[in-house]
Symmetry: C2
Subunit: 334 residues, 2 copies
Amino acid sequence: MAGSTIYDIAKKAGVSIATVSRVMNKSEGIADKTRKKVLKVADELGYHPQAYAQGLARKKKNIIMVVVPVLSNYFFMEVLSGIQDEISNYDYDLNIFNIQNDGNNMFEQVENILKRQWADGYLFISTHLRDHQLEKLESYDVPLTLVDEDYSGIDSVSVDNQQGIQQAMQYFLAQGLRRIAMISALKSSKPGEERIEGYKKELRKADIPVDENLIVAGDSMYRDGFSEQNGYEAMLKLIDLKNPPEACFCSSDIQAVGAIKAMKERGVHIPIIGYDDITISNYIGLSTIRQPMHDMGAFATKNLVERMQNKKEGPIQKIYSPELILRSSTEIRD
Amino acid sequence: MAGSTIYDIAKKAGVSIATVSRVMNKSEGIADKTRKKVLKVADELGYHPQAYAQGLARKKKNIIMVVVPVLSNYFFMEVLSGIQDEISNYDYDLNIFNIQNDGNNMFEQVENILKRQWADGYLFISTHLRDHQLEKLESYDVPLTLVDEDYSGIDSVSVDNQQGIQQAMQYFLAQGLRRIAMISALKSSKPGEERIEGYKKELRKADIPVDENLIVAGDSMYRDGFSEQNGYEAMLKLIDLKNPPEACFCSSDIQAVGAIKAMKERGVHIPIIGYDDITISNYIGLSTIRQPMHDMGAFATKNLVERMQNKKEGPIQKIYSPELILRSSTEIRD
DNA sequence: CTGAAAGCGCTTACAG
DNA sequence: CTGAAAGCGCTTACAG
C-alpha cells in the first residue's frame, strides 16, 4: 500500500502518466471524467506523489528549512512559534534541520545543507557563524534569512544586544547599585563575547572598575550553558565570593531561574535581571530584557518568503530594540 | 556556485559521472589519483550530491523524521532532546515536520507525509490519533514509532497516565484532602479525556462524589491549553468558586506555573501537583508527576533505528511508569 | 483534452 | 579500476 507510483495509477486508470501527473497537480483542462477516474484510482491505491521525485523534477520543493544547533532551548522555541504562526499563511511546509553543535565542523554541516539543496529557502537560527563564514554563505546566492545574528550581506533579523545590556546596567546604576555581577553562558561564543563586552563597556562609562570575579558562568555547559543548572551554579559562586555582588545581570531567563533558586536556598536576595522574556518569566516575576522572539520568527519567515518570490532589493537588516521589563525580581526587599 | 552537478565535476575532472559518484560515496577500488582529482574539483566547485536526486536514486534517504503537531511545547522539547542525544550515535539526519493542528484534516496530513516518503523512518510525537486512524497507519508498513501514545499494532513508547493520576490523587487523599480540583487542558483531546476519566475514577474509589465544577480549564486554548495562561485562568475560576477546592491536580507543569501565580495574586495557597516534571519545575519547587521525557525520546529513536534495520519482531510497546515527585508546592503552609 | 518523450541529478549492476 | 546505460518517480514543453 505504501508503494504505488504514478505508473500504477496510470495503468489502472487507463491513462498516461502525464495525465495522472496533471490531475494530481490540479492542472487546468482535464476532462471531468478522466479527472474523477484518476482520483478514484489514486485514492484506492493510496497514491500521493513522492516528495523526492517531485522535488527533483520540479526543481522546487515547497519547503522552508529551519537550521538550528540547539533545538531544545527556550529562545528557539519562542522564535519557532512565530515561524509556525506565520508560515501557516503560505503554501510551504516547514522542515527543521538540527545540526550538531560541536564547534569545528558545524560550518561544514551548514554548507552541506545548502549544497544538498534541501529546501527553497532557509532560516538560520542562532547559528552564530563568524564573518568569514557568513561571507561564504552569501556567495551561495540562495534565499536565506538569519535570525539572532546579523551580517550586512544577508537578510537578517536580530536584537540590539548592546542596547539590552545597557538598559539593564543603567537601571541598576540608577538605583545606586555599583557592584553588579554578570552571569554569562558559554564565553567563547560570539554572543557570549559580545555580552561580556557590553557589560564591561557600561561599567567603564560609569567609571566603575571591572572586577573579573564578578563575571561568572556555571560549570555545566549543556546547551552552551543556557540552562537552569548553569545559572544555579553561577549564583552559588557569586554568593560565595568574599565580596559578593549587590545585583546581577543574567545572560538568559532560564539561567536566572536557577540563580533565583540558589539565592532562596542561601537565604540571600539581590536584584536580578534576566534576558529574553520567555513566557514563564512573567509568571514567576522575573525582570528581564525582552526580545520579541515570536515577532522575530514571524518577520523572518515573511521576509524569506518575499525573498523567494522576487530577488530585487538588497539585503534587509531588521534590528529590534529590546525592552526592559521590570517585575518583582528587581524589587529591593528587607 | 550553488548549482554544480555531478556532470560538471565529471567533465572538469575528465572522468565519467559514475566515477564521481563512487568517489563521493567513498566506494572501494578507485585509483588514488582519480580520487584526489575528483575531490579537488568537487571542492573547487563546491559540489555535494543533491539530497533529492540521491534519495530518489537510492530509495533511501538517511533521514528520520519527527512528526509533531505542536512544536513549541515543553513536553515536546524535552522528548526532542532525548531524540537528539540518541540520534547522534547513528548516521541519520533528523528532520522535524510540523503538522497543522486543526483537527479534522490532521490525519490527512499525517498520511500524506508517509505517502510522500519523506524519510526512512518516523517518530510521531503526541499526535493523539484515534484507533481507526492508527489501524490505517499500521497498514503502511513503514518504520514508525509512536511517542506519548500507544496502540497495539505499532511500536510505541508512552507513560501510564492512569497510574500518574492515581499517584497524585492518592497522595492528596492520604493527606485527608477531599475536595480536589483538576485543571485540565483541551478536554476533547484523547489524553484530555483519559486524564479526566482517571481523576473521576480515583474519586469514586474513595467514595467521593464527583463535582463537575472542580474540573476546569482556562479559556485560552493556545497550544491546546497547555500554557501558563490557561492554568492561570483556571485557578482563578477555582478560587472564585463558592466552595473552593482544598487541593489541585494539574494536567501539566506549565499550567501549574500559571496556577501558582493566580494563587499568589489572590493570597491563597492550596497544595498543587503538576504533570510532566519539566526541568524548570525542580527550580520553582513544583511537585509533579514525572514523565521520563528525555528517556522516552531516546528509547523511541533507538527502537526506530533497530526497526529500520530488521523487521523481524512484532510491535514493541514500552510503557514507562510515572513517578510522583514531591517538592514545596505540596507543603501545607500556615 | 491527452500522450510520447526528454529531462531532473543521482546510483548501480554489468562489462570490460 | 572505470565507463555506458538503465533506472529511480516525477514534470512539462511539444505535438496532435
